[in-house]
């Protein structure tokens, strides 16, 4: 099968590291991935271009500096450098700077029902000579027909690939298949359907395999699954699984296993796993980037992070609304104090 892998270690993997990749780490990981045959490597703040902020966390090193450092390494192997941009966070000016620093693919991300925020950024990416892709986040919140309709909006705006993005890790093989199928039917044959998975229900690799089976031509993964919350589909595991199926032939499984073990495993931060909170994220359907914010807010206000995440799910918060997490924690603490007082 002709499937293209985008590795997001240096973008989604920013989340568990609180956006602290250094130039040296970025170059080493980009080199390890490109040398192993990964055709697209994404480098951006975890929340996309312009994401460095008090609300999402400030980048240790400016993302454009990281892009500039990684670009020649990636280009040397004939691979592409991708950036993520969320309209509302990053602007066309950020896109221009990224292109100038060496990015050649722009993935324009919106909530799954807000595709019409993206046309200007998709068009600008095309004008800059970049590949322009659409990225429909929190895809579990839209029924397949709705998601397909939104994918058509991004296609009409110039998107060459449109991703079904399981930001919350809430999808399962049957619900992935239904979405990929609906998108394939709705889009023109030359438009590629993509899938971005998370591992909250332990389905990162499984969902991705199911998406490919259903016709997804572009998929995302990261080394050791390094990514927000429970983490992503693991690049090296996906490569090995696909190798046994005869898919994704250009990937060197041994080199990817080495890169995962030698470059990512030693990182000091907590590795993404399916623990109580990240499982709750997938089950309640909230964005994985909320995990660390919920943990901090929970500690600060003395409430359980699980309760915060469940409440975020009830309020149907979408990607980017991390600023509501402290409010929710504060409200829960007030409510808790009220009921404690009542009991005494």
């Amino acid at each position: 099968m002709n499937v293209r892998l985008t590795d997001v270690t240096l973008r989604d993997g920013m989340h568990p590291l609180s956006h602290s990749f250094t130039v040296e780490q970025t170059v080493a990981i980009a080199n390890g991935l490109a040398a192993a045959g990964v055709p697209v490597i994404e480098v951006t703040h975890g929340d996309g271009l312009g994401g460095s902020s008090l609300v999402y966390g400030r980048s240790l090193v400016d993302e454009h500096e990281l892009i500039r450092a990684a670009a020649p390494v990636i280009r040397q192997y004939g691979a592409k450098l991708s950036v993520l941009i969320l309209p509302g966070i990053g602007t066309c000016a950020d896109l221009e700077r990224a292109a100038e620093a060496g990015a050649t693919v722009a993935r324009v991300a919106t909530h799954c029902t807000e595709a019409d925020l993206a046309p200007r950024h998709l068009a600008r990416a095309r004008e800059l000579g970049m590949e322009a892709d659409g990225f429909l986040m929190m895809a579990h919140m839209a029924e397949p027909a709705v998601l397909a309709e939104q994918a058509r909006i991004q296609e009409a705006s110039g998107a060459q690939v449109v991703y079904c993005t399981d930001t919350a890790g809430a999808l399962t093989p049957p619900t992935v298949a239904a979405r990929i199928e609906a998108m394939r039917r709705a889009l023109m044959p030359e438009t590629i359907v993509g899938f971005h998975g998370h591992n909250n229900l332990g389905l990162g690799v499984g969902n991705t395999i199911r998406a490919i089976e259903e016709g997804a031509g572009c998929v995302d993964a990261s080394l050791r699954g390094l990514g927000a919350g429970a983490g992503n589909c693991a690049t090296e595991a996906l490569a090995a699984a696909c190798d046994s199926l005869g898919w994704l032939p250009g990937l060197d499984v041994r080199r990817l296993a080495d890169a995962a073990e030698e470059l990512v495993a030693p990182l000091p931060e907590r590795e993404p796993i399916v623990d109580r909170s990240s499982l709750i994220i997938g089950w309640a359907g909230v964005g994985n980037s909320f995990l660390l914010h919920a943990r901090r807010a929970g500690e600060r206000y003395g409430v359980s992070e699980v309760e915060i995440l469940l409440e975020a799910g009830r309020r149907r918060l979408v990607s980017g609304q991390d600023d509501l997490i402290p409010d929710i924690a504060h409200e829960l603490s007030v409510r808790k104090r009220g009921s404690d007082d009542h009991h005494h």
Binding site: V55, G88, R120
Partner: protein, 274 residues
């Protein structure tokens, strides 16, 4: 005073409604469409024009508007005129005598009163606003102006709010039922800042904003957290619920139209007294 309101959206109709309360104003509404508005400009010879179209349309016609009228007030996020947040009295003085005035963005109308008040009591090293507007309140045109909204809000936070560095994030929330517009504001100030003075400043800024938009309130008062480099993080949340007949979630529109009406009132009184 002869006034033209350009635009076909909710902002234009709400502004028309607000301005029709002033007997001194002779109001004409225009769609802002090319073929129609040329005739309106010629026949009505306006002294004051309010542009409620969109940022792209505003940039395209502003030269012609300035030829026809003495003062042009822009309600789009184009941000090419002199920025003003009427809830902050000092910013009005800055645009007196200016012919091209910009009301920046709802985000700016929401955050600048708080930042400017804080800047009165302590240097604001950095200000960051994260706004969420309900999907139902963001029309097709506004969706294409999201970059203008960010850039003009940043400019207003710096020039009118007094923040040395600013950042704006503008989110659209699909929650159902649609929620009121909200904005989280985080500022970095020197650690030695007097916290009670900062709290009082924020409350005063919010009260000034609420004078124009009664549904404006500080839903979470300032909280303080020490930061690195001898700084203090001040976080607060503001919310604005639109007044009837506007739907709840249209607080951002009301921030602009009530600000525009406040300016109109000022122009009328200046004309009468001068």
């Amino acid at each position: 005073m002869r006034v033209i309101i350009l635009g076909t959206g909710v902002a234009a109709s709400d502004l028309l409604e607000r301005l029709s309360r002033f007997s001194a104003l002779d109001l004409v509404a225009s769609s802002g469409e090319e073929n129609e508005f040329g005739a309106v400009l010629r026949d009505h010879a306006p002294e004051l024009v309010f542009d409620c179209t969109n940022a792209v349309a505003h940039a395209a016609v502003v030269e012609r508007l300035l030829e026809a009228a003495a003062v042009v007030v822009d309600l789009t996020p184009a941000g090419c005129g002199a920025l003003v947040v009427p809830a902050v009295e000092a910013t009005i003085a800055g645009v007196v005598g200016t012919r091209h005035v910009s009301l920046a963005t709802p985000q700016a109308q929401m955050a600048v009163p708080l930042v400017a008040a804080l800047a009165q009591v302590t240097p604001v090293v950095y200000a960051e606003i994260v706004s969420t507007t309900a999907t139902a309140a963001v029309g097709v045109e506004a969706r294409c102006e999201i970059d203008d909204t960010i850039e003009t809000t940043v400019a207003a936070l710096r020039t009118l709010g007094g923040a040395r560095v600013a950042k704006a994030i503008a989110l659209v929330g699909p929650g159902d039922p649609p929620q009121a517009m909200r904005a989280s504001l985080q500022c970095l100030v020197p650690a030695a800042t007097d916290r009670s003075a900062a709290e009082e400043a924020a409350a005063a800024g919010a009260a000034a904003a609420a004078c124009l938009s009664p549904g404006y309130r500080l839903s979470v008062p300032p909280a303080f957290e020490p930061e690195e480099h001898g700084l203090l993080r001040v976080s607060m949340v503001a919310e604005v619920v639109a007044s009837p007949p506007l739907r709840n979630e249209l607080g951002g529109i009301e921030l602009l139209t009530s600000a525009a009406a406040a300016l109109a009132e000022r122009f009328v009184s200046t004309e009468v007294t001068s």
